[in-house]
Symmetry: C2
Subunit: 420 residues, 2 copies
């Protein structure tokens, strides 16, 4: 049997929308990777009846519960005393945690407050999960057949506890089933067109394999999922890869990658493989293309620099765009992005470049260049490829789409150049 | 009575952690703004029993349910037929939606597939919420005293439907209570130190006012919340503002803003107010400071450009950093960030600049400059202020923290310069 899990995130801020919950996605990934299926995720406020209900519901339906939030030192954090009462314990001081809290404050050279000392108190009915990244300890409770893991809501503290305490514990306890995913990253076709192209393959998928379409900023991920008993792992894997290959062969050049990575990582790997470098010249994307490339560790191997040139002055001074081009054809023009591209390659001395210029909105639209008009150029000092696109979304989405299109265009340019 | 709401997000991708759910936060914000309190959020898979359970649970506890996801045209999208069955209807073609789908495909010059035509089918027991941004229509169902709003999971389509259909409907139906939030943005003090400073104020808060501490990348938001009946709005508001002012007076220079905005927006407003411009020179943050500034609509008024200089070459060629500085003191040094700052101001011809250089990890650490070492410079052509910081997190968090610190340093520099 595959163990099932629930994720409970606690905090009023989740219910008023003040923060976006990224913890749940991380926890879900980690659990899935070791074969534990997440049945549901629920977010509740810092509110006793709501938290208690969520715990009651979890006991009835799942074997693993990951809980985050409400462990801080301030008065709105009620998770710890509530868990203590729910599992019938009393609060005691944990000496290891106390010493750890004292050390942290000594290192920071800050006075230790009473409220910080309270972080060292834990229910006597739990197993403490030591949190080396912060002052709030993690806790493990058990009731009936369900394990409850309490972690702080601070993302890097939660991640540390998941990787160092929760996952190792769960592997020991529940490593008898597994979930397997295979992902295909595609570009250039919408969800329904992809579905039409692989209709017959999808119709013939065995019942044990699920196919999902995950569209995101001009890309669509196709995800095949299979679950099963540990002893059938080889068989299930072979089967899953068989159907993955059928889809990949059918979709041909729309396939960008055979695993769940982003477009920036695909381009980064290609550059490393070809031993080439890149620079960007950006106007409307404001550095987002450079930032996307640099988020990948090791990016400094192939990414050398970017120029974000919002003003005419910066376009001329740094990138060497001709004044005539700006005055006659405007900053949002094919001629301008080609000059920007050549400028970025020249000042950074790279093999390739990406240049974009456009109008992202909400203001700034012109009669012949409405909001969403973007010119994209990719290429080398001697050869360029350009594209005019017209997006029709809000500022943030237009920027993200431009970033994905530009990276994909460079990917295609490099592949074509190398196929000739 | 204040209407209570639940948010149900549907999709296997939410349970394996492949995507981060940003829809829930947006929906929660919109509901809160019109006085509807979100009781909980739940995410379930594309799975009939799980969705049905979530609907059953919602009927018993809330009056408003916002549902997203599973309305796409592919086989894994089961929400529409399930809702049809749950509310006891049958599927019929909606002529307005059909025409709209045909128009979209004509405009895109793409063939219309059977699967797309199915988007025009809706349960006869729902009110159609017209979705002008996509092919999947929104739907409104009613059962007992609960309204169910079904929306696509694509963020900009969901947002459009919320603002144009859901919120106007709810205002008519439930505008008898309200929730009020007041937020104070602080920098420079951790959660527990803030709590210690305002301990007495917090202890004396009336029971109707809740105070929450929301830490995020070096900043802490303090949020005061009050709920009540519509007719007591003035009284509640006065009371909330009274306690907000007490806290603001106590925390003095740690207060960055009196509303829920980000640091980039605070800096942007300050630049507009002083009629000044800024440029950035970034190494380790890879354009993230520029990008943060540019996400604010209207940023082109004060943001003129950025140079992301990863290589020595770019630092020298574009920013005019001296080769001697790089060789003797290294790229991560006070001398280098000052030269980068001056270079950014010169090539972009701005009043102010921000420059950062550091080692974000995971690789690249040196014995005397470990991962997380960052030099930050802010200032003008004639006067600069620098700071050496040592972060100890992962790449992404180090980049975000550097961005917040750098923006806050510029904010303080501008305020100080103007107070002299």
């Amino acid at each position: 049997m595959i163990a099932k899990a629930a994720i409970i995130t606690i905090g009023d801020e989740l219910l008023i929308g003040q923060v976006v919950d990224t913890n749940s996605a991380f926890i879900a990934q980690e659990l899935n990777a070791i074969g534990i299926e997440v049945a549901y995720r629920i977010a509740v406020g810092d509110n006793k009846p709501a938290i208690t209900n969520a715990l009651d519901q979890a006991i009835e339906t799942v074997q693993v519960v990951c809980i985050t939030g409400g462990l801080g030192p301030t008065a709105d954090d009620i998770t710890k005393p509530l868990m203590c009462q729910y599992f019938g314990g009393k609060m005691i001081v944990n000496e290891q945690v106390l010493q750890h809290v004292k050390n942290i404050f000594q290192k920071l050279n800050r006075p230790l407050l009473d409220v910080n000392l309270k972080q060292a108190e834990v229910p006597d009915c739990c197993q403490v999960l030591f949190n080396q990244r912060g002052t709030a300890p993690g806790m493990l409770f058990k009731k009936a057949n369900t394990h409850f893991f309490c972690m702080p809501g601070v993302p890097h503290e939660m991640k540390g506890l998941m990787q160092e305490a929760v996952i190792p514990f769960l592997i020991k306890e529940y490593a008898d089933g597994f979930v397997m995913h295979e992902t295909i990253l595609t570009a250039g076709l919408g969800e329904s067109f992809l579905a039409e192209q692989i209709k017959d393959i999808e119709a013939n998928l065995p019942i044990t394999i699920k196919l999902a379409y995950l569209p995101n900023y001009g890309l669509v991920r196709l995800r095949l999922t299979s679950t099963g008993a540990k002893e059938k792992e080889v068989e299930i894997k072979t089967n899953l890869l068989h159907y993955k290959n059928l889809i990949v062969e059918r979709l041909k050049e729309n396939v960008v990658a055979l695993k769940d990575i982003g477009m920036a990582e695909v381009v980064g790997k290609l550059l490393v493989e070809k031993n080439k470098t890149v620079a960007t010249a950006e106007s409307c994307t404001a550095g987002n293309i450079a930032y996307s490339l640099c988020l990948i560790p090791g990016a400094s191997e192939y990414f050398l620099g970017a120029v974000v040139a919002y003003s005419y002055e910066a376009k001329q001074n740094i990138l060497g765009v001709q004044q005539q081009t700006l005055l006659k054809q405007g900053a949002v023009s094919e001629a301008c992005v080609i000059e920007m591209l050549k400028g970025a390659i020249a000042v950074n001395n790279t093999d390739y470049g990406i240049a974009v210029s456009g109008i992202m909105g909400p203001g700034g639209g012109l009669p012949d260049k409405p909001v969403g008009t973007v010119w994209i150029a990719v290429g080398s000092a001697t050869k360029q490829s350009t594209q005019l696109v017209q997006f029709r979304f809000d500022r943030l989405k237009n920027i993200e789409l431009t970033t994905q299109y530009a990276l994909n265009n460079l990917r295609k340019f490099i592949l074509e150049e190398n196929s000739n």
